[in-house]
């Protein structure tokens, strides 16, 4: 309860909420019958997912040949989508872990939904490398066990195997972090429920009581998990970038890849969080908890990471020229002016130019503008991965191997299908769990509620305030 808050800090919870109102606002969303937009959205997502599943079965039945990949371009939409989804999956843990370590209180408004988004995005991402294996039933070979061909092991020196470890670790840790945060909130739902619903939430809440010692350990656990997840989240996209950077392909073989991929991942992840949260806050009426201050903070992160990405693009261009290495120079000439020039300019426009609008405070606080911008950024970041993968492979060392690639309906269907999967899971999540961390919002109310801080603060509640603060240290 640090009541020492700068008066220029904007309140993060508006509407003069009490603890009970917070519970009411958050939990009632899981208690109402689903609204019409929810039902329509859910049915639509299920249909899209079904088509995606059909396309996956089609791929497995007929083989990877249905994707029109060729000898030159072995990675197309599938790996593009994989990297794109993994990148999106970086925002959740960044918000909950890194911002927890930095004591950013605005984290509490968005962390729960962002973590859920992370988990679902990683699930979508994990799908692509697995189906790209072709014979998916042999996917177990990626795990280190002495297999049936003698005690032959996977290659621990390969970045592709590092990826398996990084992504499965990331998924597991994110899931544990997310669920442990949810346990007290499930207990809140349990204590409001009756009958069978109470039984279900009793199971989900693991018998949480809210005892002081449990809270103490819970906070300690959150903090250490955050400390572990921070290097983890940076390592995951670093290792994804190793998939490219450790190869000898001009345009991939660069040391700038790890930091540039990580910045891009945070950039696209925050854009996706904004896309989702702007809809969620509108539909579930959470404007008092996800305020313009939250949106502005996220837009600042987008501006910072977007500019890092921009600098990285320009650095790549400069270094390719400065290296004096003709293959490297050609790779970048080809990206910008080759057969896929449109994807390069789409990437430059969406990722480098468009975030620069966020230097303006009024645009950072403009909900509609932010929403469109978040979609632009997601498109731009998809183009970035496509530029890196397809355009680079299309023009390699030997002109006789030069090739062109465009996706088939099956590949497009699988990509669209992952949106179905993502939204089905996210919509279910908004029904069964509070989309905002209830206990954590309550814990920042006294320091960030608008009746306690900011220009509308009322100083009526003064008993022992200062005393408590002193004792807390």
């Amino acid at each position: 309860m640090s009541s020492v808050v700068s008066p220029i800090r904007e309140p993060l919870v508006t509407g003069g909420k009490t603890y009970h109102q917070i519970t009411e606002d958050m939990i009632s969303t899981t208690e109402r019958t689903p609204s019409k937009p929810w039902v329509i959205g859910f049915l639509l997502s299920v249909m899209v997912l079904s088509f995606g599943i059909f396309c996956i079965i089609w791929t497995i039945w007929h083989g990877i040949g249905t994707w029109d990949l060729n000898r030159t371009i072995g990675w197309g939409w599938d790996i593009t989508n994989f990297v794109w989804w993994i990148g999106i999956g970086h925002a959740g843990t960044l918000i909950s872990a890194i911002l927890l370590l930095f004591r950013q209180k605005w984290r509490t408004g968005v962390n729960r939904a962002a973590e859920a988004m992370t988990i679902f995005a990683v699930m979508c991402a994990g799908l692509f490398p697995v189906i790209h294996m072709g014979r998916v039933w042999l996917a177990i070979y990626i795990f280190p066990y002495p297999n049936t061909r003698g005690p032959l092991w996977p290659n621990f020196n390969s970045p592709l195997l590092w990826d398996v470890f990084a992504i499965s670790t990331y998924f597991t840790v994110s899931l544990l972090f997310w669920y442990t945060g949810l346990v007290p909130d499930f207990a809140t739902i349990r204590d409001r429920a009756k009958g069978f619903r109470r039984k279900i939430y009793n199971f989900l809440s693991f018998g949480w009581t809210g005892s002081a010692k449990h809270w103490q350990r819970w906070e300690s656990l959150s903090l250490i998990l955050a400390g572990l997840a921070t290097p983890l989240v940076l390592s995951v996209h670093t290792i994804v970038s190793f998939d490219f950077a450790t190869s000898v392909i001009p345009g991939w073989h660069t040391t700038i890849f790890p930091p540039y991929f990580v910045a891009g991942a945070i950039f696209s992840g925050f854009a996706m969080v904004l896309t989702l949260m702007l809809v969620v806050r509108k539909v579930l009426h959470l404007e008092d908890y996800i305020t313009l201050e939250h949106i502005e903070s996220m837009n600042k992160v987008i501006l910072a990471t977007g500019s890092i990405v921009g600098v990285a693009y320009l650095t790549e261009l400069f270094i390719s020229w400065y290296s004096g290495y003709v293959y490297e120079q050609f790779a970048f000439f080809n990206r910008a002016l080759g057969p896929y020039w449109w994807s390069y300019f789409g990437m430059m426009f969406c990722n480098v130019l468009s975030p620069q609008f966020f230097w303006s405070k009024s645009l950072r606080r403009n909900v509609l503008f932010t929403f469109f911008m978040s979609i632009f950024i997601n498109i731009g970041m998809w183009f970035e991965r496509f530029v890196i993968i397809a355009t680079t492979l299309a023009r390699d060392y030997l002109p006789s191997s030069w090739s062109f690639y465009s996706p088939t309906w099956v590949e497009i269907g699988i990509y669209v299908g992952t949106f179905g999967l993502f939204f089905v899971l996210f919509l279910i999540f908004t029904r069964v769990a509070p989309t905002v961390a209830v206990a954590e919002i309550k814990s920042i109310l006294k320091s960030s509620g608008d009746q306690y801080t900011g220009k509308n603060a009322v100083h009526h509640d003064d008993h022992g305030h200062g005393e408590v603060v002193e004792e807390a240290h």
Partner: protein, 173 residues
């Protein structure tokens, strides 16, 4: 905790600051608090209740070290003893290439180990039903509970009325 039934008298407070003052008064009156329950972590409460700092980080370190050793020694054994293969002309024992997986398994082991430890020592887990005193504790009430075998009912009730509890109840858990 749930093996033996306990007769409990508990008071509910509307605000954590009133509750904190009450805890201080209980300390100066030498009333032994059984437990304090709250809807969110109340900072500054732990020293008042005499709770020592959590030692979960030790569990994290131990499990993390096990992860480090498992990964590093495992890969070392596999690539130097069990089935040595030359990849790209590099030595069998190519330590830099082992770093990413060693790091990932360190984090994985530490996280899983710590989370399992947390639920185990708190007596929480799937299918566990712990007795709760009041449904509003997870909503907006802050609860101080006394075990009636430690503190007499009359002492507790006068304490609650003196410290501004909004409600006093009895329950056997």
């Amino acid at each position: 905790m749930a093996h033996k039934n306990k007769d409990v008298v508990y008071g509910l407070y509307d605000d954590e600051e009133i509750m904190m003052k009450a805890v201080k008064k209980a300390n100066s009156d030498h009333l032994e608090i059984m437990d304090v329950y709250s809807p969110f972590p109340v900072h500054g409460l732990d020293p008042l209740l005499g709770l020592e700092e959590s030692r979960l980080h030790i569990a994290g370190f131990v499990f993390g070290s096990i992860g480090t050793l498992t990964a590093f020694l495992g890969m070392t054994w596999i690539f130097t003893k069990d089935w040595p293969i030359i990849f790209g002309g590099k030595p069998y024992w190519s330590v830099p290439a082992f770093i990413p997986i060693t790091f990932e398994l360190t984090v994985l082991f530490a996280s899983i180990g710590m989370v399992v430890t947390f639920y185990t020592i708190c007596g929480l887990g799937p299918g566990v039903t712990n007795p709760t005193l009041d449904d509003r504790i997870t909503d907006d009430k802050f609860c101080i509970a006394f075990d009636k075998s430690e503190v007499s009912t009359s002492d507790a009730e006068s304490f609650f009325s003196a410290t501004g509890a909004s409600e006093v109840n009895h329950k056997t858990i």
